[in-house]
Subunit: 213 residues, 2 copies
């Protein structure tokens, strides 16, 4: 059975939803950022990057959301969640997720993790980064809304691994100072996704586990 | 025939090398950052992200290096450059490339593209970002050296799409203030890659095209 190391309100939710979508058998292990568990020796043995998600499989540990999502889709290929048998469609899935990972998520990360890119004591620069987030994150999702999102799902008629990932990241828009009303297609998508049983179950599982601690 | 939009000294080199490795038929189209061609209407029609690489295929345009590399590998599957038939090995390939894209390349980008994440007129914060680059980039490649790089190639005995991508990015270490002597395995890898015919041909094609303009 696979085990997903996750933290509520992080991008690990995308892997969690995808596990449920495929019907995979999985266990959850919560990593508390508040207690800095991601930096403790036990967890560093699992993921030396000190991040979530990490997916423990029978063959070893996997990290990085775009990789984990495709792995789950490939292992449970009957659901065809990555369109892997169509090279161009698969590449579009991958390009979308790569953009979320390396542009949209990164823009967002400058709100709370600025210390990665300037001296941790340089509060002025860290504040300057925060101030730019509404603009930089907003620009990423405007591009998604205008150019990349096909609708009704990211890739059009077919639900793919892009959908849990995009849903996870658009949860953060208000916190980043971006009014989702500016992005009507993404707003409708987020509402529709939030009614999906896999999404409701994933959030419930993460909330319940968090509350129990 | 596929057409690769590239700029010398950018991550598009990874796609270029991979095209050569597979024996694909391709054309090159140079985008000059100096002339800001990536922001001109003609190019924005091809890639609204205003970045390179972009790969024009018969089915449409692809962006994002991790997606392009897998696409090329899948279209020319005889070379098995992505280990796609082994879900765990493929996921490791993807996780490695995702780390390069969303951590290593991003750390590097704070040296010259700080305006993406703070106000473009805030020269003090932009300088503060530059100052952190040797440390943040150095930490990424120390992790690669210590934890991710199997040797002699990234994934061990098999040459994969991770190798052109890593080679491309480790070209920038000196510019980022990281002494590659600290990273002996990556140093040896870079030397070995630079003797590979595909790498020599890609660099020669990019240099020749640049000189001709």
């Amino acid at each position: 059975m696979m085990k997903l190391y996750y933290t509520p309100d992080t991008c690990s939710l995308a892997s969690h939803i995808t596990l449920i979508e495929t019907g995979a058998d999985y266990a959850l292990e919560r990593i508390s950022f508040k207690r800095e568990e991601q930096r403790k020796p036990d967890y560093l043995k699992i993921n030396p990057k000190a991040r979530v998600p990490a997916l423990v499989t029978e063959e070893g540990v996997l990290t990085e959301t775009p990789a984990i999502l495709v792995y789950i889709a490939q292992k449970f290929s009957a659901k065809n969640l990555a369109l892997m048998n169509e090279p161009f469609a698969f590449a579009e899935v991958q390009a979308f997720n790569s953009y979320l990972c390396s542009s949209a998520h990164i823009a967002h990360a400058h709100r709370m993790r600025g210390y990665r890119w300037v001296d941790a004591n340089d509060t002025r620069s860290i504040e300057a980064m925060k101030k730019k987030v509404p603009e930089s994150v907003g620009a990423c999702y405007e591009l998604v809304e205008r150019e990349l999102f096909k609708g009704p799902w990211v890739m059009g008629e077919r639900f793919t691994i892009c959908d849990p990932y995009l849903f996870t990241l658009v949860q953060w828009l208000e916190g980043d100072g971006v009014d989702i009303a500016r992005l009507p297609r993404l707003k409708e998508f987020r509402e529709r996704m939030s009614k999906r049983p896999s999404v409701q179950r994933a959030i419930e599982e993460e909330t319940k586990k968090a509350a129990a601690e």
